[in-house]
């Protein structure tokens, strides 16, 4: 999967999960701040992503990850 497709899919899932307009989201956004979510909700997003991409992402790989770009990096390693 191309990087841009990966980013688009994950931002689409995030927008859908937290009822945001996809056009408002940028790859460099801090998704905690932009989506206004806490750690529980971030886990919900990760669960959606694991389901969508059929991968397993250990929580500790998310340490320090705050942007959609960063999430794409983590997912890319598993695809």
């Amino acid at each position: 999967m191309k990087r841009e497709d990966l980013l688009k899919t994950l931002m689409t899932l995030a927008a859908k999960r937290f009822e945001r307009d996809l056009a408002e989201l940028q790859p460099s956004d801090d998704f905690f701040a932009k989506l206004g979510i806490d750690s529980f909700q971030a886990m919900e997003l990760m669960t959606d992503l694991e389901d969508e991409f059929d991968v397993e992402v250990p929580d500790y790989e998310l340490q320090g990850v705050t942007t959609f770009d960063g999430l794409a990096d983590v997912l890319e390693r598993r695809l």
């Binding site: 919900e44 929580d59 500790y60």
Partner: protein
């Protein structure tokens, strides 16, 4: 096989196991009080949970925001529940544990209560005017009392003489995970995540989770979850045998009800005997876990970690 053909060491082991089982039954009955006739109630409305009979199924709904944290209130209500179950459960043939809280089944022990009620006082004893070995012994005694009570509840659910189903969703962490592990079968919706985050607090799980996960799935899984603190999604949990069925978001209770109806079709005594055979209580490991947890609770590492958690304003306190 006749008794005579069994080596004396094996016979002794079986005798010890029977004795231990009898002792546990006695402990469960002794430590689970019947308060104001609650144990006879087929309908209960509490601060942390409510339950009612739906046909032949006792449905137990955890409803305490933010995520069914288990503190002294939940513990007292669980004691009443277990007492009710062990006194016939109003004729129920199955029990379903589920959460109506959106965030999940349970985030585990009530860490704020744990910090404020036990560790803060312990810290005051260490640094303040109240410092004395007697006080520290008293705090350790209090921790032991709480852990003995929670273990009695978990053992009581584990050995309930009917089919117990946990219908879980969202966060199923720490003590919440340990509660789910007392069930005979776990039905998880796709939002579920299981984790043992206790090492972040300088602790091991203390509600019997390690021995139960060892029994049900295996030690490699225990080590993976325990030593990394990572969470498993429902699909992975099913792959390793922890979860029986994975269902769509919000459908766990519906599926669990169907399962409970099926379980109720069998002869109750046959179910009771089959369960007792298939699900032995890991008595010795549970005892050792309790001792280890109590020993660790006295560590300053725990006090610091709990204080950090309680005082944190980070939106990501549950991430590593």
């Amino acid at each position: 096989m006749s008794t005579e053909s069994v080596p004396w060491r094996t016979r002794l082991g079986a005798w010890q196991a029977r004795l231990a089982a009898k002792k546990i039954a006695a402990v469960v009955k002794d430590r689970l009080p019947t308060r104001n006739g609650v144990s006879q109630m087929a309908r209960f409305e509490g601060e942390a949970m409510r339950w009612h009979l739906n046909g032949t199924t006792l449905e137990v709904e955890l409803h305490r925001e933010p995520c069914n944290e288990i503190g002294t209130t939940a513990l007292a209500e669980l004691e009443s529940l277990v007492s009710f179950i062990h006194h016939g459960a109003g004729g129920a043939r199955a029990v379903i544990l589920f959460s109506s809280v959106k965030r999940g089944f349970s985030a585990g022990a009530d860490l704020r209560e744990l910090y404020e009620g036990l560790v803060a006082r312990h810290a005051a004893g260490e640094h303040g005017a109240g410092r004395s070995p007697m006080k520290q012994v008293a705090v350790a005694h209090e921790v032991r009392g709480f852990i003995d009570r929670i273990h009695a509840v978990m053992d009581g659910l584990d050995t309930a003489p009917l089919t117990v189903i946990a219908a879980v969703n969202g966060v199923c962490f720490g003590g919440g995970f340990e509660l789910a592990l007392t069930a005979d079968v776990i039905v998880a919706d796709k939002s579920t995540r299981f984790a043992f985050p206790e090492l972040r607090l300088g602790l091991v799980p203390g509600f019997g989770g390690i021995p139960r996960l060892e029994r049900d799935v295996g030690n490699a899984v225990v080590r993976d979850l325990l030593l990394t603190g990572r969470s498993l999604n429902a699909k992975r949990a099913q792959e390793i045998g922890l979860v029986s069925q994975v269902v769509s978001r919000g459908e766990a209770l519906t599926v669990a009800r169907k399962m409970a109806e099926q379980a109720a079709r069998f002869d109750p005594e046959t179910t009771r005997r089959a369960k007792r055979f298939a699900k032995p209580l890991p008595v010795e490991r549970l005892r050792r876990e309790k001792d280890l947890f109590i020993e660790m609770m006295g560590s300053p590492v725990v006090a610091k970690a709990l204080q950090k958690f309680v005082e944190s304003t980070d939106v990501r306190p549950y991430l590593p």
